[in-house]
């Protein structure tokens, strides 16, 4: 039976849903539960990765290093993972200390067209014998051939796997099949997939990825993550088992964590409301949703319109400052048409 690796990013992507305010106790209790449930890799830190805590994206309650060391204390067999986006996190300030503190897997991440910004980070991680996974974000914005070309660069730098992120939850299963297949065919390293649920496709897309040859799926417990949330770990585990794949995990143990821990610290249930559906349609980063809601309320503009306009401008993850700017412009336009 083919075994699929399930990565747990609840304490990373879930940071968006917590408005970057995971407490020490949230992290401690979740990490301890993940360890006892046999989670293979647990990723922690700011939602946009190490070094992203900022006024631009959202300030974390605790520093990345605090999150890393709190989680690390609870982990024995579970490997600790961190994510970083070059341009935000640096080798010197972020990766070196995180790895020193125990991180074993590093997700080096960039917008899907910018793989050559990850070279130094991937080379650094693999040169010291840790695992570097190259991550391409917002993959709905690039063709299978384009993604393969970028993934090959990362493979060349020393990445031991490539993770495709549907950061906007904008993909349909046939898109995922085409993209994962292209990478599977053209790469020597394993391929993974990370879903968002803005179009209600997260589990279906993750399953499509596995059927197209993906060896790992990046998930969050209860789907707790940016925008409409991610592919829920407990659900995809159950679905994969039902489809004849092994995961090395027990879905009932995961359900216990989902109901017993995550349901208790969630700010609010993860759901696909109009704003989150619009974000999927617009193809903008899921993490933009709450910021668009705040800007919409402040400037009297429908947040869905803000997201659609950001999508037309092809704004990418990390460019949160454009949200307010677009809200101001739309408010101005609205005022002018009223005249």
């Amino acid at each position: 039976m083919k075994e699929i690796l399930i990565i747990d990013s609840t304490l990373r992507d879930g940071s968006h849903a917590m408005r970057h305010h995971f407490t020490a106790e949230n992290v401690r209790s979740y990490a301890a539960a993940a360890e006892s449930a046999g989670v293979k890799v647990l990723v922690v830190g700011h939602g946009n990765g190490l070094g992203a805590s900022s006024l631009q994206i959202g300030k974390s309650l605790l520093s990345d290093m605090e999150y890393v060391s709190i989680a690390m204390k609870e982990l024995k067999n579970t490997k600790l993972g961190v994510l970083t986006v070059p341009g935000f996190g640096t080798v010197k300030d972020d990766l070196e200390p995180a790895i020193k503190a125990g991180a074993e897997v590093v997700f080096v991440t960039c917008h899907c067209t910018e793989a050559d910004t990850t070279q130094k980070h991937i080379e650094y991680v693999s040169s010291i014998g840790k695992e570097a996974i190259g991550v391409l974000m917002m993959t709905h914005m690039l063709s299978p051939e384009g993604l393969l070309e970028q993934a090959q660069k990362m493979q060349g730098y020393g990445a031991s796997g490539i993770l495709l992120m549907d950061s906007a939850g904008a993909s349909l299963p046939h898109d995922v099949t085409a993209k994962v297949s292209a990478l599977k065919k053209g790469l020597n390293v394993k391929v993974g997939f990370h879903a968002h649920n803005n179009l209600g496709m997260a589990v279906a897309n993750a399953l499509a990825a596995v059927e197209a040859g993906a060896a790992f799926i990046d998930t969050t417990m209860r789907g707790y993550g940016a925008g409409a949330g991610n592919c829920p770990m407990e659900i995809i585990t159950a679905v994969l088992h039902k489809s004849g794949y092994a995961t090395g995990m027990d879905e009932f143990a995961l359900m216990g964590i989902s109901d017993g821990i995550v349901a208790k610290f969630m700010k609010k249930p993860i759901e696909i409301d109009g704003v989150r559906l619009a974000s999927g349609l617009a193809g903008v980063f899921s993490g933009f949703c709450p910021i668009a809601e705040r800007a919409g309320a402040r400037f009297g503009v429908d947040p869905k319109e803000i997201l659609m306009e950001l999508g037309r401008r092809k704004i990418v993850a990390g460019q949160e400052d454009y949200i307010t700017e677009v809200a101001i412009e739309l408010a101005k336009r609205k005022k002018e048409t009223k005249k």
Binding site: S54, L55, Q56, G87, M141, G318
Partner: protein, 295 residues
């Protein structure tokens, strides 16, 4: 007045844009355009324009030290560390456009005169060069500020291989520049590359965290004064939005549209570097009276 001779190291887009600006200058002339790559398009273009070229990079200056008084270095951070050693011994006035963090950090509207007494001038980074003047104005307006943050977005097409490989150096050098010039306790710099077509203009958002509600009128006045001063050497600098104050922070969004000399107009991030470098070189040239004498 006799023009002062300059050499340009690095024959990529930035080097070529520098060349166009130098050729237009009434104080400077390009006597050497040198890189390492034999099939560089920049070398071919420069040769067509009748400029003396070399693929021996800094060695070409070593062989003929009299060929120039000023050297623009638009290679990369690592290479500049080597170039600075060699050129320093030859007494050349260097304008470093890489994020090497080596030389004296210069932002023309803040410390042009002081810079001229140093030999290796570092232009910091495009984010630093375009935003430090504004960060400085914010800091002057609210001296108690403890944290300043800069988020920049540039068009993917304007980020060449050196920018990409130097992305950590960019982040660290920009932060260092903001802290140095404003005196703020802590700063942060971030960079996004956006591949949209048509390409986006360089876009800089500055955030300043402040406990007391600031006088936004004073900030606005100071910021507008900065725009006017910067326009003297970088005409494409402008305010996009703000300054606004909300929830304990002042936000200011600015942009730079390039002059479109060699680089396209969206590459304001590169234009501001070449504009600043040429502005410093011209000031140096005026002081040396065309004879290469030290100011």
């Amino acid at each position: 007045m006799e023009k002062v001779k300059v050499a340009i190291l690095g024959t990529g887009n930035i080097g070529t844009d520098l060349l166009v600006k130098v050729m237009r200058s009434s104080h400077l002339e390009c006597s050497l355009f040198a890189g390492r790559s034999k099939d560089s398009q920049g070398i071919a273009r420069a040769r067509e324009m009748g400029i003396s070229t070399s693929t021996d990079s800094v060695d070409a200056i070593l062989r003929d030290p009299g060929c120039c008084d000023i050297v623009f270095d638009s290679t990369n951070a690592e290479s500049h560390l080597k170039h600075a050693l060699v050129l320093g011994k030859l007494g050349k006035f260097m304008l470093d456009l890489t994020p090497s963090k080596l030389g004296f950090m210069c932002v023309p509207i803040l410390n042009l005169k002081e810079s001229l007494s140093h030999q290796d001038i570092n232009l910091i980074t495009c984010g630093g060069q375009s935003s430090i003047p504004f960060a400085h104005a914010l800091m002057v307006s609210c001296p108690k500020t403890e944290y300043i943050e800069l988020a920049s977005s540039i068009a993917s097409k304007s980020a060449g291989p050196s920018t990409r490989i130097n992305i950590d150096e960019y982040v660290l050098a920009t932060r260092k520049g903001i802290e140095h010039f404003t005196g703020v306790k802590r700063a942060k710099a971030m960079l996004n590359l956006n591949p949209a077509e048509p390409p986006i203009n360089m876009h800089n958002t500055l955030y300043m965290e402040t406990k007391d509600e600031p006088d936004i009128g004073t900030i606005r006045k100071n910021v507008l004064a900065v725009v006017e001063q910067m326009k003297r050497y970088t005409p494409g600098v402008h305010i996009v939005a703000g300054p606004v104050y909300e929830e304990g922070r002042v936000t200011l969004i600015t942009s730079v549209i390039g002059a479109g000399d060699f680089l396209p107009k969206y590459a304001g991030n590169l234009d501001i570097m070449t504009c600043a470098a040429v502005a410093v070189a011209e000031e140096y040239a005026k002081r040396t009276d065309g004879k290469g004498a030290k100011p």
